[in-house]
Subunit: 323 residues, 2 copies
Protein backbone atom coordinates (compact mmCIF):
# COMPACT_ATOMS: atom_id res chain seq x y z
CA UNK A 1 0.00 0.00 0.00
CA UNK A 2 1.05 3.61 -0.28
CA UNK A 3 2.20 5.84 2.54
CA UNK A 4 -0.84 8.07 2.09
CA UNK A 5 -3.16 5.08 2.25
CA UNK A 6 -1.48 4.06 5.51
CA UNK A 7 -1.74 7.56 6.96
CA UNK A 8 -5.41 7.65 6.01
CA UNK A 9 -5.83 4.65 8.34
CA UNK A 10 -3.46 5.83 11.05
CA UNK A 11 -4.79 9.37 11.50
CA UNK A 12 -8.37 8.46 12.47
CA UNK A 13 -7.09 5.49 14.46
CA UNK A 14 -4.85 7.72 16.57
CA UNK A 15 -7.54 10.38 16.85
CA UNK A 16 -9.94 7.78 18.27
CA UNK A 17 -7.16 6.59 20.61
CA UNK A 18 -6.68 10.13 21.88
CA UNK A 19 -10.42 10.56 22.28
CA UNK A 20 -10.73 7.36 24.35
CA UNK A 21 -8.05 8.69 26.65
CA UNK A 22 -9.84 11.96 27.22
CA UNK A 23 -12.85 9.91 28.28
CA UNK A 24 -10.86 7.68 30.61
CA UNK A 25 -8.78 10.35 32.33
CA UNK A 26 -8.62 9.70 36.03
CA UNK A 27 -7.86 5.98 35.74
CA UNK A 28 -4.20 6.47 36.67
CA UNK A 29 -2.75 7.29 40.09
CA UNK A 30 -0.77 10.19 38.63
CA UNK A 31 -2.75 13.37 38.04
CA UNK A 32 -4.34 13.21 34.62
CA UNK A 33 -5.63 16.79 34.75
CA UNK A 34 -2.26 18.21 33.74
CA UNK A 35 -1.43 15.15 31.69
CA UNK A 36 0.08 15.73 28.29
CA UNK A 37 -2.42 15.90 25.48
CA UNK A 38 -1.89 15.96 21.77
CA UNK A 39 -2.72 19.31 20.21
CA UNK A 40 -1.76 18.56 16.62
CA UNK A 41 -3.42 15.94 14.48
CA UNK A 42 -1.03 13.10 13.62
CA UNK A 43 0.56 13.91 10.29
CA UNK A 44 2.24 17.23 11.02
CA UNK A 45 6.04 17.39 11.08
CA UNK A 46 6.15 16.81 14.82
CA UNK A 47 3.56 16.08 17.42
CA UNK A 48 2.78 18.93 19.81
CA UNK A 49 1.84 17.85 23.32
CA UNK A 50 0.38 20.23 25.85
CA UNK A 51 2.28 19.42 29.03
CA UNK A 52 1.22 22.07 31.47
CA UNK A 53 4.08 24.52 31.11
CA UNK A 54 4.90 25.09 27.45
CA UNK A 55 4.41 22.64 24.63
CA UNK A 56 6.53 19.57 24.01
CA UNK A 57 7.41 18.80 20.39
CA UNK A 58 8.06 15.16 19.55
CA UNK A 59 9.15 13.44 16.34
CA UNK A 60 10.92 10.26 15.24
CA UNK A 61 12.40 8.86 12.05
CA UNK A 62 13.83 5.50 11.15
CA UNK A 63 16.45 5.04 8.41
CA UNK A 64 17.34 1.66 6.94
CA UNK A 65 20.41 0.59 4.98
CA UNK A 66 19.46 0.02 1.36
CA UNK A 67 16.39 2.25 1.62
CA UNK A 68 17.41 5.67 2.98
CA UNK A 69 21.17 5.32 2.53
CA UNK A 70 23.62 2.78 1.18
CA UNK A 71 26.43 1.83 3.55
CA UNK A 72 28.25 0.35 0.56
CA UNK A 73 28.85 3.83 -0.83
CA UNK A 74 28.23 6.21 2.10
CA UNK A 75 30.66 6.88 4.95
CA UNK A 76 28.86 5.88 8.18
CA UNK A 77 29.48 9.21 9.93
CA UNK A 78 27.31 10.81 7.23
CA UNK A 79 24.62 8.21 7.90
CA UNK A 80 24.66 9.08 11.61
CA UNK A 81 24.54 12.76 10.74
CA UNK A 82 21.58 12.25 8.40
CA UNK A 83 19.63 10.20 10.95
CA UNK A 84 19.70 13.14 13.34
CA UNK A 85 19.45 15.85 10.66
CA UNK A 86 16.11 14.60 9.32
CA UNK A 87 14.67 14.85 12.83
CA UNK A 88 16.12 18.32 13.35
CA UNK A 89 14.51 19.29 10.05
CA UNK A 90 11.14 18.11 11.38
CA UNK A 91 11.57 20.35 14.43
CA UNK A 92 12.60 23.23 12.16
CA UNK A 93 9.37 22.75 10.24
CA UNK A 94 7.47 23.69 13.44
CA UNK A 95 9.90 26.56 14.23
CA UNK A 96 10.76 24.58 17.37
CA UNK A 97 13.94 24.44 19.44
CA UNK A 98 15.61 21.04 19.98
CA UNK A 99 16.11 19.68 23.47
CA UNK A 100 16.94 15.99 23.59
CA UNK A 101 17.08 12.88 21.45
CA UNK A 102 17.39 9.12 21.75
CA UNK A 103 19.29 6.91 19.31
CA UNK A 104 18.31 3.27 18.67
CA UNK A 105 20.58 1.07 16.58
CA UNK A 106 20.24 -2.36 15.02
CA UNK A 107 23.84 -3.06 14.04
CA UNK A 108 25.12 -5.80 11.75
CA UNK A 109 27.12 -8.19 13.93
CA UNK A 110 30.26 -7.93 11.81
CA UNK A 111 31.99 -4.64 12.51
CA UNK A 112 29.18 -3.37 14.71
CA UNK A 113 31.38 -1.52 17.18
CA UNK A 114 33.33 0.46 14.59
CA UNK A 115 30.12 1.24 12.74
CA UNK A 116 28.38 2.44 15.90
CA UNK A 117 31.28 4.72 16.81
CA UNK A 118 31.36 6.14 13.29
CA UNK A 119 27.61 6.85 13.40
CA UNK A 120 28.06 8.74 16.66
CA UNK A 121 31.03 10.65 15.26
CA UNK A 122 28.69 12.20 12.69
CA UNK A 123 25.73 12.57 14.96
CA UNK A 124 27.23 14.21 18.05
CA UNK A 125 28.82 17.29 16.40
CA UNK A 126 25.54 18.06 14.64
CA UNK A 127 23.68 17.78 17.96
CA UNK A 128 26.11 20.19 19.54
CA UNK A 129 25.64 22.77 16.79
CA UNK A 130 22.02 23.03 17.87
CA UNK A 131 22.31 22.55 21.62
CA UNK A 132 20.64 19.13 21.48
CA UNK A 133 21.45 16.57 24.17
CA UNK A 134 21.74 12.94 23.10
CA UNK A 135 20.06 11.51 26.17
CA UNK A 136 20.05 7.76 25.63
CA UNK A 137 18.68 5.00 23.47
CA UNK A 138 19.24 1.37 22.74
CA UNK A 139 22.01 -0.49 20.93
CA UNK A 140 21.46 -3.96 19.48
CA UNK A 141 23.11 -6.32 17.03
CA UNK A 142 21.64 -8.78 14.58
CA UNK A 143 22.20 -10.54 11.27
CA UNK A 144 20.22 -7.88 9.35
CA UNK A 145 21.28 -4.55 7.83
CA UNK A 146 21.83 -1.36 9.81
CA UNK A 147 18.71 0.37 11.13
CA UNK A 148 18.98 3.68 12.96
CA UNK A 149 16.00 5.28 14.62
CA UNK A 150 16.22 8.71 16.25
CA UNK A 151 13.47 10.28 18.34
CA UNK A 152 13.69 13.96 19.23
CA UNK A 153 12.02 16.33 21.68
CA UNK A 154 11.89 20.08 21.52
CA UNK A 155 10.14 23.16 22.77
CA UNK A 156 7.68 25.28 20.90
CA UNK A 157 8.56 28.75 19.65
CA UNK A 158 7.27 31.54 21.92
CA UNK A 159 5.01 32.64 19.05
CA UNK A 160 3.60 29.09 18.88
CA UNK A 161 4.35 26.18 16.60
CA UNK A 162 3.98 26.64 12.86
CA UNK A 163 1.68 23.89 11.70
CA UNK A 164 0.70 22.74 8.25
CA UNK A 165 -2.86 23.86 8.71
CA UNK A 166 -2.38 27.63 9.06
CA UNK A 167 -2.21 28.79 5.44
CA UNK A 168 -4.87 31.31 4.38
CA UNK A 169 -5.87 32.62 0.97
CA UNK A 170 -3.70 35.56 -0.01
CA UNK A 171 -0.61 34.26 1.79
CA UNK A 172 2.57 34.22 -0.21
CA UNK A 173 4.40 30.90 -0.48
CA UNK A 174 8.16 30.98 -0.01
CA UNK A 175 11.01 28.49 0.17
CA UNK A 176 14.51 28.68 1.55
CA UNK A 177 17.56 27.72 -0.52
CA UNK A 178 17.46 25.95 -3.86
CA UNK A 179 15.65 22.78 -4.84
CA UNK A 180 16.26 19.50 -6.64
CA UNK A 181 19.09 17.06 -7.24
CA UNK A 182 19.59 16.23 -3.55
CA UNK A 183 20.65 12.72 -4.54
CA UNK A 184 23.98 14.13 -5.75
CA UNK A 185 25.01 14.76 -2.13
CA UNK A 186 22.82 17.38 -0.47
CA UNK A 187 20.71 14.67 1.26
CA UNK A 188 23.78 13.77 3.33
CA UNK A 189 25.18 17.24 3.98
CA UNK A 190 22.13 19.49 4.30
CA UNK A 191 21.76 22.05 7.06
CA UNK A 192 18.58 21.54 9.08
CA UNK A 193 16.94 24.96 8.94
CA UNK A 194 16.42 25.32 12.69
CA UNK A 195 18.05 28.72 13.09
CA UNK A 196 16.38 29.99 9.94
CA UNK A 197 12.90 28.82 10.95
CA UNK A 198 13.21 30.23 14.47
CA UNK A 199 14.30 33.61 13.15
CA UNK A 200 11.73 33.75 10.34
CA UNK A 201 8.85 32.96 12.68
CA UNK A 202 10.11 35.42 15.29
CA UNK A 203 10.51 38.30 12.84
CA UNK A 204 7.80 37.64 10.24
CA UNK A 205 5.07 35.51 11.88
CA UNK A 206 4.65 32.46 9.64
CA UNK A 207 1.23 30.94 8.98
CA UNK A 208 2.11 27.41 7.82
CA UNK A 209 5.35 25.53 7.24
CA UNK A 210 6.91 22.15 6.53
CA UNK A 211 10.30 20.87 5.53
CA UNK A 212 10.61 19.57 1.99
CA UNK A 213 11.36 15.88 2.29
CA UNK A 214 9.25 14.25 -0.44
CA UNK A 215 9.44 16.95 -3.13
CA UNK A 216 7.89 20.40 -3.34
CA UNK A 217 4.85 19.43 -5.46
CA UNK A 218 3.82 16.67 -3.07
CA UNK A 219 4.77 18.40 0.18
CA UNK A 220 3.03 21.68 -0.66
CA UNK A 221 -0.17 19.68 -1.18
CA UNK A 222 0.07 18.63 2.50
CA UNK A 223 -0.13 22.28 3.53
CA UNK A 224 -2.98 22.95 1.11
CA UNK A 225 -4.98 19.92 2.26
CA UNK A 226 -4.42 20.63 5.97
CA UNK A 227 -5.37 24.29 5.49
CA UNK A 228 -8.32 23.72 3.15
CA UNK A 229 -6.90 26.03 0.47
CA UNK A 230 -5.23 25.91 -2.95
CA UNK A 231 -2.19 27.55 -4.53
CA UNK A 232 -0.95 29.13 -7.73
CA UNK A 233 2.72 28.48 -8.45
CA UNK A 234 5.10 30.58 -10.55
CA UNK A 235 7.18 28.12 -12.60
CA UNK A 236 9.78 30.76 -13.44
CA UNK A 237 10.31 31.55 -9.75
CA UNK A 238 11.31 28.05 -8.61
CA UNK A 239 14.83 28.29 -7.17
CA UNK A 240 16.67 25.52 -9.03
CA UNK A 241 19.81 24.03 -7.52
CA UNK A 242 23.07 23.53 -9.38
CA UNK A 243 22.62 19.80 -8.75
CA UNK A 244 19.22 19.83 -10.46
CA UNK A 245 20.77 21.63 -13.43
CA UNK A 246 23.56 19.04 -13.59
CA UNK A 247 21.05 16.18 -13.59
CA UNK A 248 19.05 17.92 -16.34
CA UNK A 249 22.00 18.85 -18.54
CA UNK A 250 21.74 15.87 -20.88
CA UNK A 251 17.96 16.05 -21.34
CA UNK A 252 16.17 17.18 -24.53
CA UNK A 253 14.67 20.17 -22.67
CA UNK A 254 17.17 20.87 -19.88
CA UNK A 255 15.30 23.91 -18.54
CA UNK A 256 12.09 21.96 -18.08
CA UNK A 257 13.95 18.91 -16.78
CA UNK A 258 15.70 21.00 -14.13
CA UNK A 259 12.36 22.47 -13.10
CA UNK A 260 10.92 18.96 -12.76
CA UNK A 261 13.80 18.04 -10.48
CA UNK A 262 13.17 21.14 -8.35
CA UNK A 263 9.49 20.33 -8.22
CA UNK A 264 9.59 16.59 -7.53
CA UNK A 265 12.95 15.48 -6.11
CA UNK A 266 12.85 14.43 -2.46
CA UNK A 267 15.14 15.27 0.44
CA UNK A 268 15.73 18.96 -0.17
CA UNK A 269 15.13 19.58 3.54
CA UNK A 270 14.50 23.25 2.82
CA UNK A 271 11.58 25.11 4.41
CA UNK A 272 8.37 25.78 2.52
CA UNK A 273 6.18 28.31 4.34
CA UNK A 274 3.35 30.77 3.89
CA UNK A 275 2.90 34.19 5.45
CA UNK A 276 0.80 37.32 4.87
CA UNK A 277 1.72 39.35 1.80
CA UNK A 278 2.92 42.40 3.73
CA UNK A 279 5.25 40.34 5.91
CA UNK A 280 6.45 38.43 2.85
CA UNK A 281 7.32 41.65 1.05
CA UNK A 282 9.36 42.84 4.03
CA UNK A 283 11.06 39.44 4.21
CA UNK A 284 11.94 39.28 0.51
CA UNK A 285 13.33 42.80 0.59
CA UNK A 286 15.38 42.10 3.72
CA UNK A 287 16.67 38.62 2.72
CA UNK A 288 17.75 38.23 6.37
CA UNK A 289 19.36 34.77 6.18
CA UNK A 290 23.08 34.92 5.36
CA UNK A 291 23.85 32.55 2.49
CA UNK A 292 20.28 31.26 2.31
CA UNK A 293 18.12 32.92 -0.36
CA UNK A 294 14.38 33.12 0.19
CA UNK A 295 12.21 32.88 -2.91
CA UNK A 296 8.55 33.56 -3.40
CA UNK A 297 7.22 30.68 -5.49
CA UNK A 298 3.49 31.36 -5.45
CA UNK A 299 0.38 32.41 -3.60
CA UNK A 300 -2.29 30.67 -1.56
CA UNK A 301 -5.75 30.73 -3.16
CA UNK A 302 -9.22 30.15 -1.80
CA UNK A 303 -9.86 27.89 -4.79
CA UNK A 304 -8.53 24.42 -4.00
CA UNK A 305 -6.02 22.64 -6.19
CA UNK A 306 -2.43 23.34 -7.14
CA UNK A 307 -2.09 25.18 -10.45
CA UNK A 308 0.50 27.11 -12.45
CA UNK A 309 0.00 30.83 -12.99
CA UNK A 310 -1.55 30.13 -16.40
CA UNK A 311 -4.17 27.97 -14.71
CA UNK A 312 -3.02 24.47 -15.74
CA UNK A 313 -2.82 21.88 -12.98
CA UNK A 314 0.55 21.00 -11.47
CA UNK A 315 1.02 17.29 -12.15
CA UNK A 316 0.92 15.01 -9.15
CA UNK A 317 4.41 14.22 -8.01
CA UNK A 318 6.60 13.78 -5.04
CA UNK A 319 8.00 10.68 -3.48
CA UNK A 320 5.62 8.16 -1.93
CA UNK A 321 6.94 5.35 0.20
CA UNK A 322 5.22 2.10 -0.76
CA UNK A 323 4.71 -0.85 1.55
CA UNK B 1 31.77 -6.71 21.73
CA UNK B 2 29.54 -6.91 24.78
CA UNK B 3 26.82 -4.47 25.73
CA UNK B 4 28.76 -3.44 28.84
CA UNK B 5 31.87 -2.79 26.78
CA UNK B 6 29.80 -0.59 24.48
CA UNK B 7 28.23 1.31 27.37
CA UNK B 8 31.67 1.87 28.84
CA UNK B 9 32.46 3.73 25.61
CA UNK B 10 29.11 5.46 25.24
CA UNK B 11 28.78 6.85 28.79
CA UNK B 12 31.95 8.98 28.81
CA UNK B 13 31.36 9.92 25.16
CA UNK B 14 27.90 11.29 25.95
CA UNK B 15 29.11 12.93 29.16
CA UNK B 16 31.76 14.79 27.15
CA UNK B 17 29.10 15.72 24.58
CA UNK B 18 26.92 17.16 27.34
CA UNK B 19 29.89 19.03 28.78
CA UNK B 20 30.75 20.61 25.43
CA UNK B 21 27.18 21.85 25.19
CA UNK B 22 27.30 23.49 28.59
CA UNK B 23 30.37 25.36 27.37
CA UNK B 24 28.78 26.43 24.11
CA UNK B 25 25.41 27.53 25.45
CA UNK B 26 24.40 30.77 23.81
CA UNK B 27 25.26 29.72 20.27
CA UNK B 28 21.62 29.21 19.32
CA UNK B 29 18.97 31.88 18.72
CA UNK B 30 16.59 30.18 21.13
CA UNK B 31 17.25 30.84 24.82
CA UNK B 32 19.78 28.31 26.07
CA UNK B 33 19.48 29.40 29.70
CA UNK B 34 16.32 27.36 30.17
CA UNK B 35 17.42 24.77 27.68
CA UNK B 36 16.91 21.16 28.66
CA UNK B 37 19.90 19.58 30.33
CA UNK B 38 20.57 16.00 31.20
CA UNK B 39 20.47 15.33 34.93
CA UNK B 40 21.04 11.58 34.88
CA UNK B 41 24.16 9.93 33.58
CA UNK B 42 23.43 7.87 30.46
CA UNK B 43 22.79 4.30 31.60
CA UNK B 44 19.81 4.76 33.91
CA UNK B 45 16.43 3.38 32.85
CA UNK B 46 15.40 6.67 31.31
CA UNK B 47 17.14 9.94 30.77
CA UNK B 48 15.96 12.80 32.98
CA UNK B 49 16.11 16.23 31.36
CA UNK B 50 15.67 19.42 33.32
CA UNK B 51 13.33 21.48 31.16
CA UNK B 52 12.48 24.46 33.29
CA UNK B 53 9.16 23.34 34.74
CA UNK B 54 9.36 19.75 35.95
CA UNK B 55 11.63 17.05 34.60
CA UNK B 56 11.16 15.27 31.31
CA UNK B 57 11.80 11.52 31.27
CA UNK B 58 12.90 10.03 27.97
CA UNK B 59 13.61 6.45 26.89
CA UNK B 60 13.63 4.35 23.72
CA UNK B 61 13.89 0.68 22.83
CA UNK B 62 14.21 -1.14 19.54
CA UNK B 63 12.96 -4.71 19.04
CA UNK B 64 13.94 -6.84 16.05
CA UNK B 65 12.28 -9.95 14.64
CA UNK B 66 14.45 -12.97 15.36
CA UNK B 67 16.18 -11.24 18.28
CA UNK B 68 13.55 -9.95 20.73
CA UNK B 69 10.58 -11.86 19.37
CA UNK B 70 9.82 -14.37 16.64
CA UNK B 71 7.03 -13.43 14.26
CA UNK B 72 6.92 -17.03 13.16
CA UNK B 73 5.51 -18.08 16.52
CA UNK B 74 4.22 -14.85 18.11
CA UNK B 75 0.97 -13.07 17.23
CA UNK B 76 1.91 -9.58 16.02
CA UNK B 77 -0.44 -7.78 18.42
CA UNK B 78 1.67 -9.19 21.26
CA UNK B 79 4.80 -7.89 19.53
CA UNK B 80 3.27 -4.41 19.35
CA UNK B 81 2.23 -4.67 22.98
CA UNK B 82 5.73 -5.73 24.04
CA UNK B 83 7.42 -2.93 22.09
CA UNK B 84 5.49 -0.39 24.14
CA UNK B 85 5.49 -2.37 27.39
CA UNK B 86 9.30 -2.48 27.64
CA UNK B 87 9.36 1.32 27.39
CA UNK B 88 6.61 1.70 29.98
CA UNK B 89 8.65 -0.57 32.23
CA UNK B 90 11.63 1.78 31.84
CA UNK B 91 9.44 4.69 32.97
CA UNK B 92 8.15 2.61 35.88
CA UNK B 93 11.74 2.04 36.95
CA UNK B 94 12.04 5.81 37.54
CA UNK B 95 8.59 5.97 39.21
CA UNK B 96 7.61 8.24 36.31
CA UNK B 97 4.26 8.89 34.65
CA UNK B 98 3.94 8.29 30.89
CA UNK B 99 2.95 11.11 28.56
CA UNK B 100 3.60 10.40 24.90
CA UNK B 101 5.35 7.99 22.58
CA UNK B 102 6.44 7.66 18.97
CA UNK B 103 6.39 4.40 17.00
CA UNK B 104 8.84 3.70 14.15
CA UNK B 105 8.36 0.63 11.98
CA UNK B 106 10.46 -1.13 9.35
CA UNK B 107 7.90 -3.49 7.86
CA UNK B 108 8.55 -6.43 5.57
CA UNK B 109 7.05 -5.54 2.18
CA UNK B 110 4.89 -8.65 2.01
CA UNK B 111 1.89 -8.23 4.29
CA UNK B 112 3.17 -4.97 5.73
CA UNK B 113 -0.23 -3.31 6.08
CA UNK B 114 -1.87 -6.18 7.99
CA UNK B 115 1.20 -6.52 10.17
CA UNK B 116 1.26 -2.80 10.98
CA UNK B 117 -2.41 -2.79 11.93
CA UNK B 118 -1.93 -5.85 14.13
CA UNK B 119 1.02 -4.21 15.90
CA UNK B 120 -1.12 -1.15 16.65
CA UNK B 121 -4.01 -3.33 17.83
CA UNK B 122 -1.77 -4.57 20.65
CA UNK B 123 -0.04 -1.31 21.32
CA UNK B 124 -2.93 1.16 21.54
CA UNK B 125 -4.99 -0.56 24.29
CA UNK B 126 -1.88 -0.80 26.48
CA UNK B 127 -1.18 2.91 25.91
CA UNK B 128 -4.73 3.74 26.95
CA UNK B 129 -4.45 1.74 30.19
CA UNK B 130 -1.74 4.15 31.27
CA UNK B 131 -2.97 7.40 29.75
CA UNK B 132 -0.17 7.47 27.18
CA UNK B 133 -0.71 9.28 23.88
CA UNK B 134 0.77 7.71 20.74
CA UNK B 135 1.81 10.97 19.16
CA UNK B 136 3.44 10.00 15.89
CA UNK B 137 6.34 8.18 14.36
CA UNK B 138 7.50 6.82 11.05
CA UNK B 139 6.36 3.85 8.96
CA UNK B 140 8.62 2.27 6.34
CA UNK B 141 8.85 -0.92 4.32
CA UNK B 142 11.85 -2.91 3.17
CA UNK B 143 13.09 -6.38 2.26
CA UNK B 144 14.35 -7.02 5.80
CA UNK B 145 12.63 -8.37 8.92
CA UNK B 146 10.31 -6.35 11.14
CA UNK B 147 11.95 -3.72 13.35
CA UNK B 148 9.88 -1.70 15.80
CA UNK B 149 11.33 1.17 17.77
CA UNK B 150 9.32 3.02 20.40
CA UNK B 151 10.45 6.19 22.14
CA UNK B 152 8.58 7.42 25.20
CA UNK B 153 8.35 10.60 27.24
CA UNK B 154 7.07 11.00 30.76
CA UNK B 155 7.01 13.23 33.79
CA UNK B 156 8.92 12.75 36.97
CA UNK B 157 7.23 11.73 40.21
CA UNK B 158 6.56 14.66 42.57
CA UNK B 159 9.01 13.06 45.03
CA UNK B 160 11.64 12.99 42.26
CA UNK B 161 12.80 10.23 39.95
CA UNK B 162 14.12 7.02 41.49
CA UNK B 163 17.53 6.49 39.99
CA UNK B 164 19.90 3.56 40.15
CA UNK B 165 22.42 5.52 42.14
CA UNK B 166 20.45 6.15 45.33
CA UNK B 167 20.99 2.92 47.32
CA UNK B 168 22.68 3.33 50.70
CA UNK B 169 24.12 0.76 53.11
CA UNK B 170 21.41 -0.57 55.40
CA UNK B 171 18.65 -0.30 52.77
CA UNK B 172 16.54 -3.36 52.29
CA UNK B 173 16.30 -4.75 48.76
CA UNK B 174 12.84 -5.76 47.54
CA UNK B 175 11.26 -7.03 44.35
CA UNK B 176 7.70 -7.09 43.07
CA UNK B 177 6.07 -10.28 41.79
CA UNK B 178 7.89 -13.52 41.09
CA UNK B 179 10.98 -14.15 39.00
CA UNK B 180 12.28 -16.47 36.29
CA UNK B 181 10.94 -18.42 33.32
CA UNK B 182 9.66 -15.36 31.45
CA UNK B 183 10.39 -17.13 28.16
CA UNK B 184 7.32 -19.33 28.74
CA UNK B 185 5.06 -16.34 28.04
CA UNK B 186 5.44 -13.64 30.69
CA UNK B 187 7.78 -11.61 28.41
CA UNK B 188 4.81 -11.01 26.08
CA UNK B 189 2.06 -10.49 28.65
CA UNK B 190 3.74 -8.74 31.58
CA UNK B 191 2.22 -5.73 33.30
CA UNK B 192 4.55 -2.73 33.30
CA UNK B 193 4.73 -1.77 36.98
CA UNK B 194 3.86 1.89 36.47
CA UNK B 195 1.02 2.09 38.97
CA UNK B 196 2.96 0.03 41.49
CA UNK B 197 6.11 2.12 41.22
CA UNK B 198 4.20 5.40 41.48
CA UNK B 199 2.38 4.22 44.60
CA UNK B 200 5.44 2.68 46.26
CA UNK B 201 7.52 5.81 45.81
CA UNK B 202 4.67 8.04 46.98
CA UNK B 203 4.00 6.03 50.14
CA UNK B 204 7.40 4.62 51.05
CA UNK B 205 10.09 6.88 49.50
CA UNK B 206 12.31 4.60 47.43
CA UNK B 207 16.07 5.12 47.29
CA UNK B 208 17.01 3.25 44.10
CA UNK B 209 15.11 1.22 41.52
CA UNK B 210 15.28 -0.49 38.15
CA UNK B 211 13.12 -2.86 36.18
CA UNK B 212 14.46 -6.40 35.83
CA UNK B 213 15.12 -6.88 32.14
CA UNK B 214 18.43 -8.78 32.02
CA UNK B 215 18.07 -10.95 35.13
CA UNK B 216 18.18 -10.08 38.82
CA UNK B 217 21.84 -10.99 39.43
CA UNK B 218 23.04 -8.80 36.60
CA UNK B 219 20.56 -5.95 37.04
CA UNK B 220 21.08 -5.61 40.78
CA UNK B 221 24.77 -5.10 40.09
CA UNK B 222 23.82 -1.98 38.08
CA UNK B 223 22.28 -0.49 41.21
CA UNK B 224 25.26 -1.50 43.33
CA UNK B 225 27.78 -0.08 40.88
CA UNK B 226 25.87 3.17 40.38
CA UNK B 227 25.45 3.58 44.14
CA UNK B 228 28.97 2.51 45.14
CA UNK B 229 27.70 -0.16 47.53
CA UNK B 230 27.35 -3.95 47.80
CA UNK B 231 24.58 -6.35 48.78
CA UNK B 232 23.89 -9.53 50.69
CA UNK B 233 21.17 -11.71 49.15
CA UNK B 234 18.96 -14.27 50.89
CA UNK B 235 18.73 -17.26 48.54
CA UNK B 236 15.71 -18.68 50.37
CA UNK B 237 13.80 -15.42 49.95
CA UNK B 238 13.91 -15.22 46.16
CA UNK B 239 10.30 -15.23 44.90
CA UNK B 240 10.35 -17.98 42.29
CA UNK B 241 7.72 -18.03 39.55
CA UNK B 242 5.67 -21.06 38.58
CA UNK B 243 7.26 -20.80 35.14
CA UNK B 244 10.75 -21.06 36.66
CA UNK B 245 9.66 -24.12 38.62
CA UNK B 246 8.27 -25.67 35.45
CA UNK B 247 11.52 -25.09 33.59
CA UNK B 248 13.46 -26.58 36.52
CA UNK B 249 11.23 -29.60 37.04
CA UNK B 250 13.31 -32.04 35.01
CA UNK B 251 16.69 -30.99 36.45
CA UNK B 252 18.80 -33.07 38.86
CA UNK B 253 18.39 -30.41 41.59
CA UNK B 254 15.08 -28.70 40.73
CA UNK B 255 15.13 -26.36 43.74
CA UNK B 256 18.52 -24.97 42.82
CA UNK B 257 17.66 -24.90 39.12
CA UNK B 258 14.51 -22.87 39.78
CA UNK B 259 16.55 -20.45 41.90
CA UNK B 260 19.03 -20.07 39.04
CA UNK B 261 16.17 -19.19 36.70
CA UNK B 262 14.86 -16.60 39.17
CA UNK B 263 18.34 -15.17 39.54
CA UNK B 264 19.45 -15.08 35.92
CA UNK B 265 16.53 -15.23 33.49
CA UNK B 266 15.87 -12.01 31.60
CA UNK B 267 12.64 -10.12 30.89
CA UNK B 268 10.90 -10.42 34.27
CA UNK B 269 10.05 -6.71 34.03
CA UNK B 270 9.41 -6.65 37.76
CA UNK B 271 10.72 -3.83 39.95
CA UNK B 272 13.85 -4.21 42.06
CA UNK B 273 14.23 -1.38 44.57
CA UNK B 274 15.88 -0.37 47.81
CA UNK B 275 14.50 1.69 50.67
CA UNK B 276 15.30 2.37 54.34
CA UNK B 277 14.70 -0.51 56.71
CA UNK B 278 11.88 1.18 58.62
CA UNK B 279 9.95 2.00 55.46
CA UNK B 280 10.60 -1.51 54.14
CA UNK B 281 9.19 -3.07 57.30
CA UNK B 282 6.03 -0.99 56.96
CA UNK B 283 5.79 -1.92 53.28
CA UNK B 284 6.24 -5.65 53.83
CA UNK B 285 3.64 -5.65 56.61
CA UNK B 286 1.15 -3.69 54.49
CA UNK B 287 1.67 -5.55 51.17
CA UNK B 288 -0.25 -2.69 49.54
CA UNK B 289 -0.27 -3.94 45.93
CA UNK B 290 -3.31 -6.11 45.13
CA UNK B 291 -2.16 -9.34 43.47
CA UNK B 292 1.48 -8.30 43.43
CA UNK B 293 3.55 -9.67 46.33
CA UNK B 294 6.54 -7.71 47.52
CA UNK B 295 9.50 -9.72 48.78
CA UNK B 296 12.58 -8.67 50.69
CA UNK B 297 15.49 -10.43 48.99
CA UNK B 298 18.47 -8.87 50.75
CA UNK B 299 20.19 -5.84 52.20
CA UNK B 300 22.54 -3.18 50.89
CA UNK B 301 26.02 -3.30 52.41
CA UNK B 302 28.84 -0.79 52.60
CA UNK B 303 31.20 -3.57 51.51
CA UNK B 304 31.11 -3.83 47.73
CA UNK B 305 30.30 -7.03 45.90
CA UNK B 306 27.20 -9.20 45.69
CA UNK B 307 27.23 -12.11 48.15
CA UNK B 308 24.89 -14.68 49.63
CA UNK B 309 24.06 -14.46 53.32
CA UNK B 310 26.73 -17.08 54.04
CA UNK B 311 29.32 -14.84 52.44
CA UNK B 312 29.97 -16.68 49.17
CA UNK B 313 29.92 -14.58 45.99
CA UNK B 314 26.86 -14.63 43.77
CA UNK B 315 28.09 -15.92 40.41
CA UNK B 316 28.10 -13.45 37.56
CA UNK B 317 25.00 -13.86 35.47
CA UNK B 318 22.34 -12.05 33.61
CA UNK B 319 21.82 -11.58 29.94
CA UNK B 320 24.36 -9.60 27.96
CA UNK B 321 23.61 -8.52 24.43
CA UNK B 322 26.63 -9.14 22.24
CA UNK B 323 27.45 -7.27 19.07
Amino acid sequence: MSEFHWISWLQPTLAAHEQRMRLTSGVTPWPSADHGRLITAPGDDTAVMHVGHGDLLLAADMLMDGVHFDLGTTPPHLVGRKALAVNLSDLAAMAGAPESATVCLALPKAGGEELAKALYSGLLPLAEEYGLTIAGGDTNAWDGPLVISVAITGRAHPRGSVRRSGAVAGDWICVTGTLGGSILGHHLSFTPRLREAWQLHRDYGLHAMLDLSDGLAGDLRHILRASGVGARLDAAALPISQAARRLAAGQPDPVDAARQHALNDGEDFELCFTLPEAAAQRLLAAQPLPGVPISKIGEVTAAKGLVWQGGSAVAAGGWQHMF
